[in-house]
């Protein structure tokens, strides 16, 4: 029901403006304190804990967690978010203040201590960012010990949903769903897989899109000029480089692309994934560099081997004519880099991994076969030669990106968290022990 605006004597927007940096603070007056106190009284309050990796750790989930926490905090200026960061064994990262507790990944006791820390805190709801590899134990199973000890309601965001998981991987996801009030996936296909392949009740599963930065479009021409790459068709790929990205297939597409677009430039933006660097060093990047040399593409493929800050990344994306994601694994259920490219309204060429297949549907991008330089070159060529087609594709991508802007995603999460917080702890879901016998466990292969 509509309510009359309260005639609060003085001031401000400060409660919100102070956290979002808007210029409302320019009008700050001493009496604004009353408005501030008023807002403190009426705005909804919820203290959220995020259990995940967190920057300065360099990984997609760390970035996701920071972006989500920041987006939510702008709507909850009087709440006190906390991050329980999953770290390595020895190194204590120079974390920001929001990180109040560290889980040492390989140490099982650390997970119990973290749960107890949260049990003793004012936290209303706990959000776990789940990917098998970021937690300790076999397939990251220590997170289950954490959840069993936790006495606060929890929501898990699943960044990996395998179509055909190993038995232990399936068990872990099922137990997470049992121990949490809800699990979040970022595409509808993920929900379907959790229902059919894992036997998780649909009412436990919520689909919330991957957030993207709020970007207002600038023309590629203007963005290119700022980067000193004017007048060249620009293709790009970004993210933490690893073999799964299939960058070599995009590089192999370049000779064909150059036949019609002789000034084309392919930018590979980002450093090697730190986890990859730990076990194979820079060997993948060296192979890519060698491939560029073998194909004589030194003037047409440029690497930027460092972690890019958001602003710089957006600049490169805005300067991009065609964004390429050439992942080689169909199971990829989410891609932050693809989400960002959509947010910037880019024409996109992608292999049909699960996330891409869903978000690029209805003309938001062009799908090409896995490991197919020929198809990549054909798609890029078509986009560059057909500006009308490209503009329509960019417009559709941008519209999708607006709906997935972090400020919208934050509202969806807040909605879920508020509905969850009333529960003291997840009411155990009735999950059948075996479902869909056709989805048999596979044997582990190398």
């Amino acid at each position: 029901m509509a309510r009359k605006a309260r005639s609060v004597e003085p001031t401000p927007a400060e409660a919100l403006a102070s956290v979002d940096g808007s210029s409302e603070r320019d009008g700050w007056k001493p009496e604004d304190l009353k408005m501030f106190q008023f807002l403190r009284g009426v705005l909804n309050h919820i203290d959220i804990a995020y259990v995940a990796t967190y920057p300065p750790q360099e990984c997609g989930i760390a970035t996701f967690t920071r972006d989500l926490a920041m987006a939510i905090s702008k709507y909850t200026p009087f709440s006190d978010p906390v991050v329980v960061a999953v770290s390595g064994e020895a190194d204590i990262e120079p974390y920001p203040k929001i990180v109040k507790f560290q889980i040492r990944k390989p140490n099982p006791h650390s997970y119990l201590d973290a749960a107890e820390f949260l049990n003793q805190s004012q936290i209303s709801v706990v959000n776990i960012q789940h990917e098998y590899g970021i937690f300790g134990g076999q397939d990251g199973e220590y997170i289950l010990d954490f959840l069993k000890k936790l006495r606060k309601p929890a929501v898990a965001t699943l960044h990996t949903v395998l179509f055909d998981p190993y038995p232990n991987q399936r068990r872990i996801v099922r137990e997470i769903a049992e121990l949490c009030s809800a699990v979040v996936v970022m595409v509808k296909m993920g929900k379907q897989m959790l229902i059919e392949n894992y036997g998780i009740p649909p009412e436990r599963i919520v689909v919330i899109r991957h957030g993207v930065p709020n970007v207002h479009r600038v023309s590629a021409t203007v963005a290119k000029k700022a980067l000193g790459i004017s007048d060249r068709p620009v293709l790009s790929t970004f993210g933490l480089i690893n073999r799964g990205k299939g960058v070599e297939y995009a590089i192999r597409a370049m000779p064909r692309i150059l036949e019609k677009h002789p000034d084309a430039l392919y930018l590979v933006l980002g450093e090697t994934h730190p986890g990859v660097r730990n076990y194979e060093g820079e060997s993948y990047r060296k192979e890519l560099l060698q491939l560029v040399a073998d194909l004589g593409l030194e003037q047409h493929v440029r690497f930027n081997n460092r972690y890019l800050m958001l602003e710089e990344l957006i600049s490169y994306l805005c300067a991009t004519d065609v964004y390429i994601t050439s992942y080689v694994n169909r199971d990829q259920i989410v891609s932050g880099t693809l989400a960002y490219a959509l947010g910037c309204g880019k024409a996109i060429v992608s292999t049909p991994y699960l996330y891409a297949e869903e978000v690029l549907s209805k003309g938001k991008g062009m799908l090409v076969d896995f490991r197919s330089p020929d198809e990549i070159s054909q798609a890029v060529d078509y986009i560059l030669l057909n500006p009308g087609f490209r503009e329509e594709m960019e417009a559709r991508a941008y519209r999708y990106g607006r709906r997935a802007a972090w400020f919208n995603v934050a509202i969806d999460y807040l909605d879920l968290f508020h509905s969850t917080r009333s529960l003291p702890k997840a009411a155990p879901a009735v999950i059948p022990s075996r479902v869909n016998p056709n989805k048999t466990d596979r044997s582990k292969t190398a």
């Binding site: 927007a13 808007s22 009426v42 709020n214 607006r402």
Partner: protein, 114 residues
């Protein structure tokens, strides 16, 4: 096509109705803030903001609305929102700002409330 905020002002009797179309976010909220300030400078004290064509509002946009309410209240005026769609209502409700603003489905009702 690009996300932007289009602002038009029309008058219903003595009351200015600010028609917004697009997104109210960190990029566009300054325009809205300036419009409210200009209305106050021009002597208006009661304002209806029509949200019917607002697609999205972020925290900066909410901050601007709260700032507008503050400024208008300082002049013993009144601010009402009309026509907010489900997404905007959801944002107001989840943040708690539905307790701060008068929100009406109907513009006439909003005008009458002031």
């Amino acid at each position: 096509m690009d996300a932007d905020l289009d602002i038009k002002i029309r008058r219903m009797g003595d009351i200015p109705v600010v028609d917004l179309a697009g997104d109210i976010d960190g990029y566009t909220c300054i325009k809205l803030r300036d419009v409210i300030i200009e209305l106050l400078k021009a002597g208006d004290r009661k304002v209806v903001i029509s949200m019917a064509k607002v697609s999205y509002i972020d925290s900066s946009g909410l901050g601007t609305l709260v700032g507008g309410l503050r400024r208008i209240n300082e002049h013993d005026g009144g601010l009402a929102l009309s026509g907010a769609g489900p997404q905007i209502r959801k944002v107001l409700s989840i943040t708690g700002l539905s307790k701060v603003f008068s929100v009406f489905n109907d513009e006439t009702e909003a005008i009458r409330s002031l």
